[in-house]
Symmetry: C2
Subunit: 124 residues, 2 copies
Amino acid sequence: MVATFSELRALPGMDDTLLTAGCPTRVVLDHVTSRWGVLVVLSLTNGTHRWSELRRAVDGISEKMLASTLRQLQADGLVDRVAHPVIPPHVEYSLTSRGEELAGVLLPLVEWSARHSAEILASA
Amino acid sequence: MVATFSELRALPGMDDTLLTAGCPTRVVLDHVTSRWGVLVVLSLTNGTHRWSELRRAVDGISEKMLASTLRQLQADGLVDRVAHPVIPPHVEYSLTSRGEELAGVLLPLVEWSARHSAEILASA
């Protein structure tokens, strides 16, 4: 586990361009820290969800934002979409194994935020 | 370490309102996942920085965004600002212990993003 950004940059496979503007890591970091992306990934840690279940689980998300968030997560290989050929249509979403991995590094951040939210907002 | 959102909600001190719209955790999560907030916190894991050093370290940030990002991080008790009474003014920024804790849960997410950015962007 690295403790500083310098240590992170020094790891095999990393280099001095890490986190420069527009670098691949910044692009991916923007996706995986987007407000709705985080909440959709978290909801899917509980297992496969249908569209309408996700819409309820992610409090406050609009249809349009849910659609574009799921599209981005699919494009990034983090979420699988399965459409069952039945009438009415039955579409299910779940985390891919890469999405499960992402959830593993997101949950500690969410837990930390939950544990400290009261004191942080009180200090503001 | 929790593995699902349901497990997180079931922890002592958490409840069913966790991550509902506008709840304290969502507010804090928005702050700590903001693009510039993440990058400023990461830069400060390397130790105390002056304004001009941060401006260089966080590639692409404007003066205005650096100012408002630092103001938010200070308000949240994550960053300390020390102004030395000399001429010309000498102002230093560093992580508080709460900020160090945040860095501890942010770094794994950044490392994951760095390791997977190439394959994620290739799959898009």
